[in-house]
Each structure stands twice: as structure tokens, then as C-alpha cells.
């Protein structure tokens, strides 16, 4: 091929632009004569006149790369002694000779692209199936919600009626009671002095009650203390294992421990409790109490923000609870066990609301009539599992079961009967009828609250953005895991993300939103880092045949990133784009073959 110096580095399609005798700078800033095209002097600040040299700082150089894909590079790369274009065209006047590697590179790139296209193809099929199913399931959820709302309305009506009935009964009962009381009063009037003495006795008994309550509280506190001692021992031994072994001694209490000991749970409390400790530290008296080694660790921890007994900065991801303690020392640690244990409070703050819902359902006495529909669906997803709160899907199944109409009818019928049967004007109140009303009221309002809670669960779920085609619908009930070193990372889309080490869990964030047109899942406002931001996680999604989480990293302190492969990202348009690119590369290749 003949090298046309004047047209060097310009895109083939642009050649026409440079045909005239006087050429305009593309940004309109001026014009130049054709002899100044590629004359190695910048006349247009935007680089129009120097497509083939490094003269303009804003210029771009086009390399054809026959056999591979053409690319455009910054003009600063032209003749800089580094081969950037695989055809070597960017180094036409420098002290290096670039081999044309487009053939091999192109071949490799095409192979890679072919594989990618294949993945996209299969992925797109899976995706389409999922989307279809998701749409059905979503519609079903919506239908259920509509239905539940209808039922709620009816049931609310019944409950209101029963409540009114109950109120009337109670009113009647109250009137009766007052009447009786007044009678008794009159009878007792004679013995009034005696009554005063009785009052004294009752005071004494109240005192006994309050003492009992106090004892209970103390017992709770000592439990907490015991746990803390175990924790401190772990630190003294300086091995995380010893800490977990302490916990394992008492498997029955594991749940209790893991929630209480979880650094995520404790961190807010530590921060508040550690603040005054920090003050103390700066006083000479405090530092003087330290051994020389402790002092060294303490001072080092200022720079590292780490727990004193882990002064070395090796551990990039050490136990997070240690980050959360500003400049702690063994002493401050001891102090903390005196601080009222706030774990219970933070517990509710930490766990998602979904889990709280679960507890409500756990108390239910529903008969488990049917249907494991959701569970069946979930089994299809590879590398993931149902999120914790799935169990409740079973619990509320009776609400969505096919037989549901009958229970509503039944309840309506029963209430009707009760209401009709009851006679307000009969005095005294018929006790058995009153208790039936009460029972029916309790039953109905319990059903109502179940329905309401199911409605709220469904509403919570459906308010989420599941993607343009609901392709992320099934993410709602799934979590994805990845093990990196000693940590297990858990990502539950639309809910939360966490880092688990043994029994301690650190929140990396609560669900925030999709970003970059559904290519990134953002989790924000995780547990706070000492001297750093609240933890957060960005999960980058890419096309893959199954849902797989990997590559969790922490490029910036407490700002995590991860990659999730999923068929949901294998979109048709992208597939077409890749196919076109592959085709283009193949054409380019054939062009090369012809040469």
C-alpha cells in the first residue's frame, strides 16, 4: 500500500473532508491550506489539520489495523516510541519499528469475541425464559395484591362490625359491673375503716413485684457481661480463632452470640462509647499506664485506624469491628463491657425489615395448607439460594391458596351468624355469646393483620424496579455468595449486602438502586468505617450463563466492588452489536487475506 503522508492517520471516510484547497478547522476556529495538512504544526486547536502527527494536543489518530479492528488513539501516541496500533502505523517516524501484529491479535480477539457472542446467545435464551416467567409471576403478585386488598376491605368491614359489637358488649358489661359495684359499695360502707388497712397490704405486695422485675434485669445484664469477657479473652490471645472458639463452646447460644457479637451490630454503640475513651487517651496519665508495646501499638493505630493489637497494616480486611474502634486499647475494651449493651437496639436496626416480618409470621398458627411454588422456582437458579426471608413465603401460603375463598366465605358466614345471634338488649349479657364475639373478633383481626402484612410485603416487593422487562424479578428472593479469603460476601439484591467472617457479619450496605442503566447494583449506608465512609458496595453486572458472584475487592477504604455474572444482562441488542462487530472483524480479516 502506498503511504499517503498527507492523509496519514485520518479516518477513511474523512478523506473527502480534506479534498479542497482550503480546509476549515472542524471546531470553526479557523481554516488552513491543504499543504498544512499533517505538516507537523498545529493550526487548528482541535487537531483537524494534524490527524497524522502529534502536533495538536486534542488530536486523534486513526489506525486501520487491517486484520483486526480499527481504532482511534490520542495523537500524543503518534511517534512516541511505543507501538499502539497493531499495524504499527502510529510509529511511522520514530526510533522503534513496530511489527504488524494485527493478524494474530485479530485472530485471538475474534476467538474471544466469538465466545462472548456464544455466551450472549445462550444467555439471551435463558434470559427470555426468565423474563417470561418473571412477567407471569409479577402479574400473579399483582393479582394477589389486588385480591388481598379486596379481601382486606371485606375483612376490615367484618372486623369493624365485630369491634363495634365487642364495644357494645363491653359497654353493657361495664354498666353491669358499675351497677354491681355500687351495690357492693353500699354494702361495704359500714366497714370503711377496715378498707384502709387492706390498701396497705396491697402496697406491700406491689413492692415485691417490682423487686422481682429488677432481679430479671440483672440477670440479663450478667449474661451480657459473660459474653464480653469471652470476647476480651479472644483479643488478648490475638487470634480470631480463639474468639470464634469461645463462641462455639455454647452452640445453643450461637444465634444470640452472633447477633450480639456481630461487629456490624456493635459498631454504632462502640462509636459512641469510644468517643469519651479517646479523650481519656490523650491525657498523659492514661498513656503512662501502658506498657511500651501497648504504647507503640496505640500510636501506630492512629495512622492505621486499626485495633491496637493488630498494629501491622498487613491485614487489609481484618476483622471489621477493629476498624470501628477509634484507638482502642485493652483498657478501653474493658471499659466497654461496662457500657450498657446496646446490641438489642442495633439488632433491629441492622436486620432488614423483612426479617422482622418473618418473626411475625413465625408466631402464626396458620395451617400450612399447600403450595411450594416459589421454592420450586428457586431451585432453578444456580449458585444462589433463597434469601432468609423466603420461609415466610410458605407461611403466608394459606392466604394465597386456592381454598382461600372458602375461608373468607366461612368467616363471613360465621360472623353473620354471631352478629345475628347476639342479643344486645338481654341483661345480664349472655356470657357465652360475648366470648364468641370476642373470639371471632380476635380471629378476624388476626387474619386481617396477616393479610395486611402480606399486602405490605407484596407492596414492598412490587415497588422495586425490576428492570425494563422485569428481568431482575427473581433477584428479589435470592442472595449470591462469594468466598474471598477468610470472608464470605453475601449480596441480596433489593435488600442488603454483607461481609461474613465466622459468626460476625458486617453490613456492606442496604439496597440503594440500579445505576448505569441496570448495569450496576448499588448498596449504600453499610456499617460505618472508622476514619472512613459508611461501607458501600457496587456490584457490576455482566452477561453470563448463571448467576455467579465473584471478584469482590475494596479498591478504596470501605468502598467495595464486585462482579455478578447473570443471564439478565445478556440482552438481544448487545448480542446484535457484538455479532456486527464480529462480522466487521471477519470482513477486515478477509480484506487482510486478500492482501
Amino acid at each position: 500500500a502506498v503511504l499517503d503522508l498527507a492523509l496519514l492517520g485520518c479516518l477513511g471516510a474523512d478523506e473527502a473532508y480534506f479534498r479542497g484547497g482550503v480546509i476549515r478547522c472542524r471546531d470553526g476556529s479557523g481554516k488552513f491550506t491543504r499543504d498544512k495538512l499533517n505538516d507537523d504544526f498545529c493550526d487548528c486547536p482541535d487537531g483537524t489539520d494534524e490527524p497524522g502527527t502529534s502536533a495538536c494536543p486534542e488530536g486523534k489518530f486513526y489506525c486501520q489495523n487491517a486484520g483486526h479492528s480499527p481504532i482511534t488513539i490520542f495523537s500524543s501516541r503518534v511517534n512516541d516510541g511505543i507501538c499502539d496500533c497493531c499495524d504499527g502505523s502510529d510509529e511511522y517516524d520514530s526510533n522503534v519499528t513496530c511489527k504488524n501484529t494485527c493478524w494474530e491479535a485479530g485472530k485471538a480477539a475474534r476467538e474471544k469475541l466469538k465466545k462472548k457472542v456464544a455466551t450472549y446467545k445462550s444467555g439471551a435464551i435463558i434470559r427470555n425464559q426468565e423474563v417470561q416467567k418473571a412477567k407471569v409471576a409479577f402479574a400473579k403478585d399483582e393479582a394477589e395484591l389486588t385480591k388481598l386488598k379486596g379481601e382486606e376491605k371485606i375483612l376490615q368491614g367484618l372486623v369493624d362490625k365485630l369491634k363495634e359489637q365487642k364495644r357494645l358488649i363491653e359497654k353493657a358489661e361495664e354498666e353491669e359491673r358499675i351497677r354491681k359495684e355500687q351495690e357492693e359499695k353500699r354494702m361495704k360502707e359500714a366497714a370503711e375503716k377496715q378498707a384502709t388497712e387492706e390498701k396497705k397490704t396491697s402496697d406491700a405486695s406491689q413492692e415485691v413485684d417490682s423487686q422481682e422485675t429488677h432481679a430479671n434485669v440483672q440477670e440479663d445484664e450478667s449474661k451480657v457481661d459473660a459474653h464480653h469477657d469471652g470476647h476480651a479473652t479472644g483479643h488478648e490471645n490475638q487470634t480470631p480463632e480463639s474468639e470464634s472458639s469461645v463462641e462455639q463452646h455454647d452452640p445453643e447460644r450461637q444465634d444470640d452470640i452472633s447477633t450480639k457479637a456481630g461487629p456490624g451490630d456493635e459498631s454504632p454503640a462502640k462509636e459512641t462509647s469510644a468517643a469519651p475513651t479517646k479523650e481519656q487517651e490523650s491525657t498523659p496519665a492514661d498513656a503512662e499506664g501502658l506498657s511500651r508495646e501497648e504504647l507503640g501499638r496505640l500510636v501506630a493505630s492512629r495512622w492505621t485506624g486499626e485495633k491496637v493489637d493488630e498494629v501491622s497494616k498487613d491485614d487489609k480486611n481484618e476483622h471489621e469491628s477493629e476498624h470501628d474502634m477509634p484507638e482502642p486499647s485493652e483498657e478501653t475494651h474493658e471499659d466497654e463491657s461496662d457500657v450498657p449493651e446496646p446490641a438489642e437496639d442495633s439488632y433491629s436496626g441492622y436486620h432488614s425489615e423483612v426479617e422482622d416480618d418473618r418473626h411475625k409470621y413465625d408466631d402464626e398458627d396458620f395451617s400450612h395448607e399447600s403450595e411450594d411454588e416459589y421454592a420450586d422456582d428457586h431451585d432453578e437458579h444456580v449458585g444462589s439460594y433463597k434469601s432468609d426471608d423466603d420461609q415466610k413465603g410458605d407461611d403466608h401460603s394459606d392466604l394465597t391458596a386456592s381454598g382461600q375463598a372458602s375461608w373468607l366465605d366461612k368467616i363471613q358466614q360465621t360472623v353473620q351468624n354471631v352478629l345475628q345471634a347476639f342479643n344486645f338488649f338481654k341483661t345480664p349479657v349472655n356470657l357465652s355469646e360475648a366470648s364468641r364475639v370476642r373470639k371471632e373478633y380476635d380471629d378476624a383481626s388476626s387474619k386481617l393483620s396477616k393479610i395486611q402484612s402480606r399486602i405490605s410485603t407484596l407492596t414492598d416487593k412490587l415497588k422495586h424496579d425490576f428492570g425494563k422487562e422485569k428481568e431482575f424479578y427473581y433477584f428479589y428472593d435470592q442472595c449470591f455468595e462469594s468466598k474471598e479469603g477468610k470472608y464470605v460476601y453475601k449480596v441480596c439484591p433489593f435488600k442488603k449486602a454483607s461481609q461474613v467472617e465466622g459468626h460476625s457479619t458486617t453490613s456492606l450496605g442496604r439496597w440503594d438502586k440500579f445505576e448505569e442503566s441496570y448495569r450496576v447494583m448499588q448498596f449504600s449506608n453499610g456499617d460505618r468505617c472508622w476514619n472512613g465512609p459508611d461501607r458501600s458496595l457496587k456490584v457490576r453486572l455482566r452477561c453470563g450463563l448463571s448467576n455467579e458472584l465473584n471478584g469482590v475487592e475494596e479498591p478504596s477504604r470501605c468502598e467495595y466492588v464486585a462482579v455478578l455474572s447473570t443471564p439478565a444482562l445478556c440482552v438481544e441488542e448487545k448480542l446484535k452489536e457484538l455479532e456486527q462487530k464480529l462480522e466487521g472483524m471477519s470482513l477486515n480479516q478477509r480484506g487482510h487475506d486478500e492482501l
Partner: protein
């Protein structure tokens, strides 16, 4: 900042004692024994200083160093009545030929208890005998320049044989005990500067003021002297007289028409008061006299009086005894990217390609302590860096370098060969009981090689060979941190003063120089590694007088706030005045997350620092320049590009510094010594003689007042607009750049093609920017060499002076002949000459030789798009920079 952890003057007995003493109130003032005064065979003047109540006389020595420096030495007399110990003389700081350069003094004239002798033809020295007092004065007028002990505060605590009954020499601070087995030995004296409006120098302190504010006397509220004691201060204050990482006991005084300097070579803790007028109760407000009080815990008097009289002369005089700054490699003058920490090889590759993707040049990628295997320096964490050579090679393929950190604390780990070797050889500093000192630093229990010992420095230097430092390659350079030394569990986070060094020297005596010796040993190591052909690059945090010979320093762990940005300029300027021109502050601030606007401003200011590096603490968010949106990326790219385009100018200035010591970044008064308006301007600065920049130090600042000194015009660097000199201009602040100007009468060489790194700019053509003065003249220089070797010492460089006069630009060779037989050549040409202030409507220029006609057209002052064409530009003269030529404007 933990104030309580550091001693103030009142908690420091020698300081408290000296500082509370009234002038002329000493119990045993020293007097000169006139009979002993004599010119010794080496040409110096010697005499005995004594007082009847003292156990022994002291020995005084006065010597003269050309040009215009007087050296005063006072020590115990070891020849008779031998004192129990030898006081410490700081070795290897003064240039080895200082003694040889000493002049032969003439016999002093003595009359009426006063002896006088000539220092030079126009300066003489007056010595008053009782009490001893010394004045350096101008011979003709008799005007004093500097004086010693004119307030009678000179005290020299003699070494004592044994502890007096009932006295304790121990000192306590917090939980630490200093055994002080040798007792009190401090030295105090007053020095006065005459004809001075301000004093400067004494790094390192956080300050937004360029001049040293008075530390004591009327009107001074917080009374604490300037402390020189190398310390690792966590979250240091941007405004405080307390000591930081380095110490240079050198002060410059400047006033209308006179400059002078004083340097005390002493590595012990020093405290210096700058006394406000009236501090001694005197009511006479003698104009232009500044009194100072100097206190040191130990050592001897080895002091230099520099007479000036121009401020640059004072710097040159100081440099003539402590040495010129080393000439850096070209890459080291470019942009450095650092973070604690780039985690692994993938991270390194990602950051490297991030710069390429955003077309932002950088030259050096840095690895902090996490790259090592458990903070064992010279090792790699092989899980994160399995192939360090391969990693460095990939970076080097783009012409870039890497830097790893090597600190002085060595992990006490029996499986660590370095520790085993140092232990076996007895190379560690010893504690007061004679055992290897065991302190706490990053690796945990650590010991510190005794860098005072030349043999140990030699041993340390060998550790940098490719053989010893596995995984190192020729493009790997070194960073010395924590070399104050930082000892986490030591008193004031450093080594106990009673630790023992080579030659039975106590740590208190050499503390401020420990980091200096460590820096020296490391730089020597790189020099050895490169067989003397590769200029070392070693960045150090601690420093002392003379550190300029070994590499660069930075201002340590600053914070991401506007005040720290503001204090960085006075701090860097002060370092430059005291020899350490190759310095800078961490861009963005080490601690904390800078607001994006602060980060952008910091890049715009930092792009002018001689040492230009972005760095961040590991708890901070990532802040590579492309992470804050397109607009801010463009602004930071522009700031970095500006620096790269000025690299030829900077390199030429580094050459000047390496010859004369005159710093790259200069206070305005160094260039305009007569302009009083400039004397305490710490917000603006000069880059060489030609450029002036004013930092923006406030968030959202809308306008800024910029004082442009001198009588000539100044041209805005971005758009070429002219501004009058000697005027305080109120300017609108733009987000594009900080206000920066070229001084009329100067020529600045640039390279306007932006490459990945400075390495690829080697063959790129030059742009000359000529700013004509009121006589339509200008001049400037260009220095070029191979950018890495020492061949320039044998003449392998190009040094041109460009002179524009009578409508003609001439390039002439100013390289001295006969330096050696090595040559440097380049095919580089000048592609563009921008002439600011050219009035004629000339269309052509004639290049000689060749009588070739080239076009002149209106062109932009900068090639960035969107800027209008404003200045006559000679298009493609394409003359080679190596040649003599003239270009005549037709």
C-alpha cells in the same frame, strides 16, 4: 495533633532555663583571653574563652570562607584538663573541602579590649573581649550586619566529671525517663541581624506565613520558640512553631537593601526565639534590627555568619558550605502518583492504564509499605505482587518508573535475614543499657541501623543492589519514610535521647541528623547500584542541613483542607531558601478526603511544586484525577499538562539550583529584593526568574488580589493579557487555573506536545515564549542533558542563552568549555516562538544561517482548544536547539 505528647519549652529544662534569663545577667559570662589570641598555621584565629568560676577554658576558633562567610567554632579544650567526654561534632554535613577553602586571616588589631580583623576587602569582624561579643560589619560604613552575644545571653554549660551531690540529671516526660548520664551540656546565645525587616528559614514548621513571626516579646501571645526536633507528628497543625519531620538551623534575614544569614551546625534539639522589638525592655525601636535567641541541648558552637548582601548571595554562601542540591533525573521532575496503598499488581496496572485512558501523563507510580512482606523492607508481599520485575517492566515499557518504600525500622524477626545480619554485626543503635534498641514501628518490634557509622551506611547501601534487593529493577527508585526516626512507643514518638550511637554518641546529640544519614546511605545505595551512572532518586521525610545533596523531601502527612494547601507554599518556599529546593506537599492532603474543588485547586498549585506528587492515606477515598467527573478531570489534566509543558523550564531551573543553590520555587523578594511589598508574601511565588503564580486557598473564592512586583509588565500565562507591575491587581478567579504570569523581559522554553510520560517527550520540538519588556528585550535559558546520567559533569549537555533584542532573537552557547570530553546532542528543534508584546505587524522572520524565510502569524499562547489567537507566533522556524542561530523579525 496530640499536643500533650510533645514537649514545650517549659517542659524542656534547658529551654526553660535559657529562655527566662534576662540579657546580660549571666553568672559566669565568658571572656576572651587576649593573650591567647593568635593566627594559627591553618590561617584561622584561635583564642581561649574563660571565666574564673568555670572548670576549664573553652577554645574559640574563627575562620573565613570565601565569599563572605565567617565561621565561629567554640568547644571544650580537650588538650588540657580533659573533659569527661568529647562533645559531638556533626560529621559529613559540611563539604569536605570547607577547611581547604579557608582563607588565611590577617593578624587582628587589638586595642581597648577589642580586636578587629578583616574578613574580606569590605567586611570586617569586631571581637569584644569581656564579655566575649562578636560583630560582623561593613568595613566602609561600619554598619553592623550580624552580631553574636550582643545581649549577653551566651552560655555554654561545661561538661561535668560527675553528678553533684543531691542533684539528679534524669529528666521525665510522660512515662519516659531520660537518664541523661552526661548531665547538662546545653548552649545558648543571641544573634542579631541588622538592616532586616524579616527573618526566614528554620524549616520545618507548619505555617501560612513566609516570614518567621516573632515568638516572644511585646504583642506575642502564644509564646513558644521555633523548635527544631525531627518528629513524626500525627495530623500536624498547619500553623505551629512545634517541630516537624526535618530541621535546618539556618536563618536568612532580609530588609530593604541588605540580606544576611546565620547557620548553626548542630544536630541536637534546638529552640529558637525570634524576638519582637522591645523584648528586652528597651524602648528604643531601632529600625531594622532583629534579635534572635538560639538554644541547643548539646553539641558545640559551629556557626556560620553569611554577609550577603543580595539574598541570592546569602543562599549561595550557605550552599558553599553545605553543598548544592543534586541534579535530579528528568522523570523525577515530572508527576508522581502515590497512594497508601496500591494494593497489588492488578491495581497498579489499572491505575497505570487509567492515566492513559484519560490522556493524563505521569512518570512514577509509588508503592507504600503494604507492598512488603510484613513490613520487611526489600521484600515483596508475593500474594499481591507475585512478579514485581514483570510489573516494573510493563510500567517501564511506557517510559515510566516505580518507587518503593524503604524505612529505617527493621523488623525484629529471626527469620528476616536483614535483622539477623544487623544483629550479628552489631549494626543497631543501642539503648542506654547497651542492648540493641528495641522500639515499635510498622512491623511491630523493630531496631534501627546506626546510620552515623560510615561502615553501616556502606552496608546499607549494598542492600540496594539488584542481587540483594530481589524483585528490583533499574527503573525502581526509593522512598525513605519514618526516618526522624519514628518510634511509636518512644518519647515524643521518637528514639530515647539516651540511646547510644557509633563513637559513644548519644542520640540527643545527633537526633536531627539521623534521617539525613539514612537518606545519604540510601542515595549512595542507588548510586552504587547504577555503577555511578544513574542519578539516584530518593525521597525522604526527615532532613537536615545538607540533605539537598541526596534527593527530595516532602512536607509529610498533611491534611486535606484549605489551610494545609495554603501553608504548603510558605513551607516549600522556606525549604527552598534553606537549600532543599526539591520539595513538595502531598497533593490533595494525606489525611482525609479533599472536596473535589480543593483537589482541583491543589493540583493547580501543586503543579508548580518542585516535587509534584499526589498521595493519600489508606482510609481515604480513591482520588486518581479522573474520578471526579469530566469537568474536573479536564481541569486536573490541564494542570498536569501545564507542568509537563514547562518541564524544559523546570529542568533548566534545577540545573541552576544544582550549580548555585538558588531554588526553583522562590519567594518574590528573592527576585525583587528591593520591593518591600513582597517581603512577607507567602501566597504567591516565583518559578525561577520568569513566572509568578498566586495560589487560590479558599473554597469558592470569586476574586483574588495579586501583587505583581517590579516595573515591567506581566503577561497572563493562559491568555497573554498584560498587567502592570508594582500594582496590586484584583482579579476574577477562574476555575481553569490559578493566576499565573510571565514576567516581561524573560523567555520561557516549553514543550507543548503531551505524551504519556516525560520519557516520550525527549525528541519533541520546543516552543519559546518571549515576553518583551519595555525596551522590547528579553532573555532566558535552556539546559538539556540526557536526563539521567552524570555525563553532564563531563560536559555532555546543552546550555543555551536566548536573547531577544533589536527585533532579533539569538541563541548562544553558555556551556563552559573544557568540562570534559563527553558530548550531548539532540535533533530537537524549536517549532514555535510566541512573542508577547511585539508591536510590529510583521508577517515574516528570517532565520540565519540559511537566510530562510518563515511565517509569522497570530497564534494562541496555549494550544488548548477554545483559546483565541492573541500573540505573534513564528511558525516552524525549526532551528535546532544545539545550534547557534538568529531569527530576525522582518
Amino acid at each position: 495533633w496530640k499536643k500533650d505528647e510533645f514537649r514545650n519549652c517549659n517542659q524542656t529544662p534547658f529551654c526553660k532555663r535559657a529562655r527566662t534569663r534576662a540579657p546580660h545577667s549571666l553568672d559566669a559570662p565568658l571572656s576572651l583571653d587576649a593573650a591567647s589570641l593568635a593566627v594559627s598555621p591553618d590561617g584561622s584565629l584561635t583564642a581561649a574563652l574563660s571565666h574564673p568560676s568555670r572548670p576549664r577554658p573553652l577554645l574559640l576558633r574563627l575562620s573565613a570562607l570565601p565569599p563572605h562567610a565567617l565561621r565561629l567554632q567554640i568547644d571544650e579544650d580537650y588538650s588540657s584538663n580533659t573533659p569527661p567526654h568529647r562533645r559531638f561534632h556533626v560529621p559529613d554535613v559540611l563539604l569536605p573541602d570547607v577547611e581547604a577553602r579557608t582563607l588565611h586571616l590577617s593578624e587582628p588589631k587589638t586595642a581597648g579590649g577589642v580586636s578587629t580583623f578583616a574578613l574580606s576587602s569590605d567586611v570586617d569582624v569586631v571581637v569584644k573581649h569581656d564579655p566575649f561579643e562578636l560583630t560582623v560589619r561593613r568595613a566602609g560604613s561600619g554598619d553592623p550586619v550580624l552580631s553574636f552575644n550582643s545581649h549577653g545571653l551566651f552560655d555554654f554549660e561545661p561538661l561535668q566529671e560527675s553528678k553533684p551531690e543531691g542533684e539528679t540529671w534524669e529528666e521525665h516526660f510522660r512515662s519516659h525517663t531520660d537518664t541523661r548520664p552526661r548531665g547538662p551540656q546545653s548552649i545558648t546565645f543571641d544573634v542579631s541581624f541588622y538592616g532586616a525587616d524579616f527573618v526566614y528559614g528554620l524549616p520545618e514548621h507548619g505555617s501560612t506565613s513566609l516570614a518567621l513571626r516573632p515568638s516572644r516579646g511585646p504583642g506575642v501571645e502564644e509564646s513558644e520558640p521555633y523548635r527544631l526536633f525531627n518528629l513524626d507528628v500525627f495530623e500536624y497543625l498547619h500553623e505551629s512553631p512545634f517541630g516537624l519531620y526535618g530541621s535546618i538551623p539556618f536563618m536568612i534575614a532580609h530588609g530593604d537593601g541588605a540580606s544576611s544569614g546565620f547557620f548553626w551546625l548542630n544536630a541536637a534539639e534546638m529552640q529558637i526565639d525570634v524576638l519582637a522589638p522591645g523584648w528586652d525592655g528597651s524602648t528604643s525601636t531601632e529600625n531594622g534590627q532583629i534579635d534572635t535567641l538560639w538554644m541547643a541541648e548539646a553539641g558545640v558552637v559551629d556557626a556560620f555568619f553569611f554577609v550577603g548582601s543580595e539574598p541570592k548571595d546569602v543562599i549561595k554562601q550557605y550552599i558553599s558550605v553545605t553543598g548544592t542540591p543534586s541534579m535530579p533525573q528528568q522523570f523525577a521532575v515530572a508527576y508522581h502518583q502515590c497512594r497508601w496503598n496500591y494494593r497489588d499488581e492488578e491495581d497498579v496496572a489499572g491505575v497505570d492504564s487509567g492515566f492513559d485512558e484519560h490522556d493524563i501523563p505521569y512518570d512514577v507510580l509509588w508503592l507504600d509499605i503494604e507492598h512488603t512482606d510484613g513490613k520487611r523492607y526489600f521484600t515483596w508481599d508475593r500474594s499481591a505482587f507475585p512478579n514485581p520485575e514483570e510489573m516494573q517492566r510493563k510500567i517501564a515499557d511506557k517510559g515510566r518508573k516505580m518507587v518503593t518504600i524503604v524505612d529505617p525500622h527493621i523488623k525484629r524477626d529471626s527469620s528476616f535475614h536483614l535483622h539477623e545480619e544487623a544483629t550479628a554485626k552489631g549494626y543497631y543503635v543501642k539503648d542506654a543499657t547497651g542492648k540493641d534498641f528495641d522500639g515499635w514501628c510498622w512491623p511491630g518490634a523493630s531496631s534501627y541501623p546506626d546510620m552515623l557509622n560510615p561502615e553501616i551506611r556502606e552496608w546499607w547501601a549494598d542492600k540496594f543492589s539488584y542481587e540483594n534487593y530481589k524483585g528490583s529493577t533499574p527503573t525502581l527508585y526509593i522512598w525513605n519514610d519514618m526516618n526522624e526516626p519514628s518510634v511509636f512507643n518512644g518519647p515524643e514518638v521518637t528514639m530515647p535521647r539516651d540511646a547510644i550511637h557509633y563513637g559513644d554518641v548519644e542520640h540527643r546529640e545527633l537526633h536531627n541528623a539521623y534521617g539525613y544519614y539514612f537518606h545519604m546511605a540510601t542515595a549512595d545505595g542507588l548510586l552504587k547500584r547504577g555503577e555511578g551512572k544513574d542519578r539516584p532518586f530518593v525521597l525522604s521525610r526527615a532532613f537536615f542541613a545538607g540533605s539537598q545533596r541526596y534527593g527530595a523531601v516532602w512536607t509529610g502527612d498533611n491534611s486535606a483542607d484549605w489551610d494545609h494547601l495554603k501553608s504548603s507554599i510558605p513551607m516549600v518556599l522556606t525549604l527552598g531558601l534553606t537549600g532543599m529546593t526539591f520539595s513538595g506537599a502531598d497533593i490533595g492532603g494525606f489525611f482525609g478526603n479533599p472536596e473535589p474543588d480543593l483537589l482541583v485547586r491543589w493540583y493547580q498549585v501543586g503543579a508548580f511544586y518542585p516535587f509534584f506528587r499526589g498521595h493519600a492515606h489508606h482510609d481515604t477515598r480513591r482520588r486518581e484525577p479522573w474520578l471526579f467527573g469530566e469537568r474536573r478531570t479536564a481541569l486536573m489534566r490541564e494542570a498536569i499538562h501545564m507542568r509537563y509543558s514547562l518541564l524544559p523550564y523546570y529542568y533548566t531551573l534545577f540545573r541552576e539550583a544544582s550549580v548555585t543553590g538558588v531554588p526553583v520555587l522562590r519567594p518574590l523578594w528573592l527576585e525583587f529584593p528591593d520591593d518591600k511589598e513582597t517581603y512577607n508574601n507567602g501566597e504567591a511565588f516565583m518559578v525561577g526568574p520568569g513566572l509568578l503564580a498566586q495560589g487560590i486557598y479558599e473554597d469558592g473564592q470569586k476574586s483574588v488580589s495579586v501583587y505583581l512586583p517590579g516595573k515591567e509588565l506581566w503577561y497572563n500565562l493562559r491568555n497573554g493579557s498584560p498587567y502592570k507591575g508594582s500594582v496590586l491587581h484584583k482579579l476574577e478567579v477562574s476555575e481553569d487555573s490559578i493566576p499565573s504570569f510571565q514576567r516581561a523581559g524573560t523567555i520561557v522554553p516549553r514543550k507543548d506536545r503531551f505524551r504519556r510520560s516525560s520519557t516520550q517527550m525527549l525528541n519533541d520540538p520546543y516552543t519559546l515564549v518571549i515576553a518583551l519588556n519595555s525596551s522590547s528585550a528579553a532573555e532566558g535559558e535552556l539546559y538539556v542533558d540526557d536526563g539521567k546520567s552524570y555525563d553532564y559533569q563531563q560536559g555532555a549537555f546543552i546550555h543555551r542563552r536566548f536573547v531577544f533584542a533589536d527585533n532579533k532573537l539569538t541563541s548562544m552557547n553558555i556551556a563552559p568549555k573544557n568540562l570534559g570530553n563527553k558530548k550531548f546532542s539532540t535533533e530537537c528543534v524549536i517549532e514555535r516562538i510566541i512573542i508577547l508584546g511585539l508591536s510590529s505587524g510583521s508577517k515574516t522572520a528570517i532565520v540565519e544561517p540559511g537566510n530562510q524565510e518563515v511565517e509569522i502569524e497570530l497564534g494562541p499562547i496555549s494550544l488548548r482548544s477554545g483559546l483565541s489567537s492573541v500573540a505573534p507566533t513564528v511558525r516552524k522556524p525549526n532551528v535546532r536547539v544545539v545550534d547557534d542561530w538568529t531569527i530576525r523579525i522582518a
